[in-house]
């Protein structure tokens, strides 16, 4: 009794009911094919006191997947809720669709970053596009209007043929979906490293804005309230995406490693429709404005299984759903498939009975299909019916929140000591001005340090007219109130090389860099979201990296006073036995009272003085220099000093607010010279630099010591600025002046802006266009 369509999992056509399950306790069930482990299947039987029906098994399998249940990461993520700094900006914390922070003037901002790594490798365009769609719906479900997106991306080696397949598809998908929605793409990153060859990282972030009173939560309470599914019709796409695709390792051919070893079926690719999503956004915002919903949830990974079980378990009672009422794109779908489908552009709302008519009217106006598929009940069970028969009868919490929790074994990898002992400080250094010049050119033209405008120009950065900063600035910034010029800024950062050398410090460096980027733009950092990309949790080495990185991030957030509002974990990012570099990506959200006070990176005024803030030490472990010149990764990453980061942030924000600086650029990978070149090219002006006393030219230019920034100070403000730094105890060293049309390191070398621009801007189009 196999279904006729070859692409679907083998479900019996005659459907399985609760009654039938009780009568046939010994029926064989495809729990293994659905990605469940033997003990997990046993636990489901124990919870239910019988074997699960096919539909129940489908729901548990997707909801207990690594992607949805966080079963390997939960024990570590707990720290984000325990080490919470005192911060009164936090309005909604971890656990909802996205966290919400207060940004003043009655506004609240919600933001989150999620991964869409595995789908984007298989089908780059649609994988990346639906990644954007998914995060936008998460933000929408909180009650907010999405106002901007960001995309931190990581690919294999820039010159690898497969990168030419994956990158253009991903970039076009992000641009295609985001541009159709009319959302500016204001930031992100593009990093190349061969460790991401078979496993690119496509993370997508979104920022949404609302008034405090508009916050909506995902819960279903009030017996008798109606459950409404609205948006696109449900089809057979994306079935099992979270359990089969996102929660397992692929072998070298991209096949699923578990199961029978035959090529994995790939029904998990979804195709998005951004115009449908745009209708869904406007329709939902109108519904919010008329206060028609008691609870709301978007449908993403695990589809209707996730939405019904999460809504029901967050509410007070139970829920009853009639699956026959779900609008289908394909009438032959089985109930299991309907429950597991990850069709895009769908939402689920809980609505009081007397508001249902108005709700449906608004949906009709926006050409959005909406159906009452069930109601909230007095009981404590989630019950689902099909053709009049009960096919699901479960306690919803056991599906949504009480899944398995693993204490995965972890241990410091045996190779870690050798890696750290392989000090990058011992690498041969340039001996004279000519060699320095040559290495500077190599650095700024290397794929990771080169201009990414070929990529970011494919995104619409200025649609809606509120973008005040976008790539290649340190942080993206949008105005959220056109009267007062209140704005928010966001930066995303992560450095897998640092994290490989020391995951604890690496996570803190990602946090510090993102924090510094936001502060450099003039905005005050408020809170963070994260996207934790790691290899297989079943590998103790990887699990150690994860444990260390989460501990580092939680400690760092506590110290900086920026709470974690939520985030996402993506595991199993590896090809065969080889895991990616541990890659915690941190998104810091900041607020600025008046966007006209922002600080750009451009050195635009000749005669302005350049100051280097912070201390420069000989720190080259994991540096861009060690990668570009020596293809080396070893030693220790730069030392972390979060108190210094905080002080630097305060100085940058004060200086921006009081008009003491005209430009600021954070120093991170590539060091001072990278930052100066970017700022010069951005402003179209050169710089004359003098190596400060006590530093050699090489360390001055290439060191990646953290807690530093370079600023351009108008001469009239010099005294006031240096007095402030002196009084607060922040080292500020005058290193030169904005001048001419070359980057001229006195006594060493000079490179014309023209030469630098060619080197910096030709690389990416040369490789990919």
């Amino acid at each position: 009794m196999l279904p006729s369509s070859g692409g679907r999992p083998p479900y019996p056509r005659a459907f399985d009911t609760v009654k039938h399950a009780s009568e046939t306790p010994d029926s064989e069930q495809p729990w293994k094919e659905l990605g469940l482990k033997e003990d997990e299947y046993a636990r489901i039987r124990e919870i239910l006191g019988r074997r699960p029906t096919g539909a129940e098994l489908a729901m548990y399998s997707v909801m207990w997947s690594e992607h949805c249940s966080y079963k390997s990461s939960k024990v570590h993520l707990k720290q984000f809720g325990e080490k919470v700094p005192a911060n009164d900006a936090m309005l909604v914390g971890i656990g909802e669709n996205a966290g919400v922070v207060d940004v003043g003037q009655g506004y609240a901002v919600t933001f989150k970053v999620e991964s869409h790594n595995h789908p984007s490798y298989i089908e780059p365009y649609q994988g990346a596009a639906t990644g954007v769609g998914g995060i936008v719906r998460d933000i929408l479900a909180m009650g907010a209007r999405p106002v901007a997106v960001v995309d931190p991306l990581r690919f294999g080696a820039a010159d690898h043929p497969d990168t030419k397949r994956v990158l253009p598809g991903v970039v076009a998908g992000i641009g295609g979906y985001g541009n159709c929605l009319g959302l500016p793409n204001i930031g992100g990153e593009v990093v190349f490293d061969s460790c991401y060859q078979g496993n690119p990282l496509v993370n997508a972030g979104c920022i949404g804005v609302m008034k405090h009173e508009d916050i909506h939560l995902a819960k279903a309470s009030g017996a008798g309230n109606k459950v409404i599914l609205y948006g696109a019709r449900t089809g057979g796409d994306g079935i099992g995406g979270v359990s089969v695709l996102a929660s397992e390792t692929f072998d070298a051919e991209g096949n699923s490693a578990s199961g029978t070893g035959k090529p994995a079926k790939r029904p998990a690719v979804q195709v998005g429709d951004p115009f449908q999503e745009k209708l869904l956004i406007e329709c939902t915002l109108e519904i919010f404005a008329e206060k028609l919903v008691a609870g709301i949830q978007d449908l993403g990974g695990a589809g209707l299984s996730c939405a019904t079980s999460e809504l029901a378990s967050a509410g007070s009672g139970g829920m009853r759903v009639d699956l026959d009422l779900v609008h289908l794109r394909d009438a032959t779908l089985s109930p299991e498939e309907i429950l597991m489908s990850e069709s895009q552009e769908r939402m689920c709302a809980i609505v009081e009975p007397d508001k249902v008519d108005r709700f449906l009217e608004i949906c009709e106006k926006w050409d959005v299909i909406a159906t009452v598929i069930g109601e909230v009940t007095e009981g404590e069970r989630l019950e689902i019916f099909w053709h009049g028969e009960q096919i699901v009868d479960v306690p919803p919490r056991t599906v949504a929140h009480e899944g398995p929790v693993y204490q995965r074994p972890f241990a410091r990898p045996e190779w870690q000591d050798a890696l750290q002992a392989d000090d990058a400080g011992k690498l041969p250094r340039p001996q004279n001005g000519e060699e320095l010049k040559d290495q500077v050119l190599k650095l700024v033209s290397s794929p990771n340090q080169a201009s990414k405008s070929w990529i970011t120009d494919q995104y619409d950065r200025f649609v809606q007219g509120n973008t005040v900063l976008a790539q290649p600035e340190d942080a993206g910034m949008v105005r959220i109130d056109e009267e007062t010029n209140l704005g928010v800024a966001m930066a995303t950062d992560g450095n897998g090389r640092y994290a490989k050398l020391d995951p604890y410090a690496g996570a803190q460096l990602a946090l510090a860099e993102s924090y510094r980027n936001v502060a450099a733009s003039g905005a005050k950092p408020l809170a963070i979201s994260n996207c934790l990309n790691f290899g297989s949790p079943e590998d103790p080495d990887v699990m150690w990296q994860f444990a260390e990185a989460t501990r580092g991030l939680a400690d760092g957030c506590f110290q900086l006073g920026t709470p974690v509002t939520g985030g996402n974990v993506s595991l199993y990012n590896q090809t065969g036995d080889v895991a990616i570099h541990p890659t915690p990506v941190v998104a810091v959200l900041g607020v600025i009272d008046d966007v006209n006070r922002r600080t750009p990176i451009a050195f635009a005024e000749e005669g302005q003085l350049l100051y280097l803030l912070g201390d420069t030490k000989e720190e080259f472990g994991g540096s861009a220099w060690s990668e570009v010149i020596h293809q080396h990764l070893g030693g220790l990453p730069p030392a972390v000093d979060l108190d210094r980061e905080k002080l630097l942030g305060e100085i940058l924000i004060s200086a921006s607010r009081d008009g003491m600086i005209d430009a600021a650029h954070d120093l991170s990978d590539g060091g001072l010279v990278q930052a100066v070149v970017e700022s010069c090219l951005r402003g179209g002006k050169g710089a004359r630099l003098v190596v400060p006393e006590g530093l050699d030219a090489f360390t001055f230019l290439f060191s990646e010591s953290a807690g530093r920034a370079v600023v351009a100070v108008p001469r009239s403000e010099e005294l006031r600025f240096t007095d402030m730094c002196g009084a607060r105890g922040l080292p500020a060293t005058r290193i030169g002046v904005v001048d001419g049309d070359a980057v001229d390191v006195q006594g060493e070398f000079a490179l014309s802006l023209e030469e630098l621009r060619t080197a910096h801007e030709a690389t990416i189009p040369g490789l990919l266009a």
Binding site: G235, F275, D330
Partner: protein
Amino acid sequence: MARVVVDVMLKPEILDPQGQAVQRALPRLGFAGIADVRQGKRFELEVEGPVDDAALARIHEMAETFLANTVIEDFTVKVESTETAGASS
């Protein structure tokens, strides 16, 4: 020269936003009675030389790697005419 036609369609379970847009437009334009629309692509290849097994294998490979995105699309290859192309139209 012979003409070989490669038809590419989205797999049945994959959403087809273009097809749906066409379907929504039909009743507005007064065309009733269409339950669903799926839109695909048709490639007409004018083949140099004989269309033998080797040529068809090459076209198959071409379709699989370039003309169709087999992650989300199916394709069919058929030989339309072995006459000189253009003669029939």
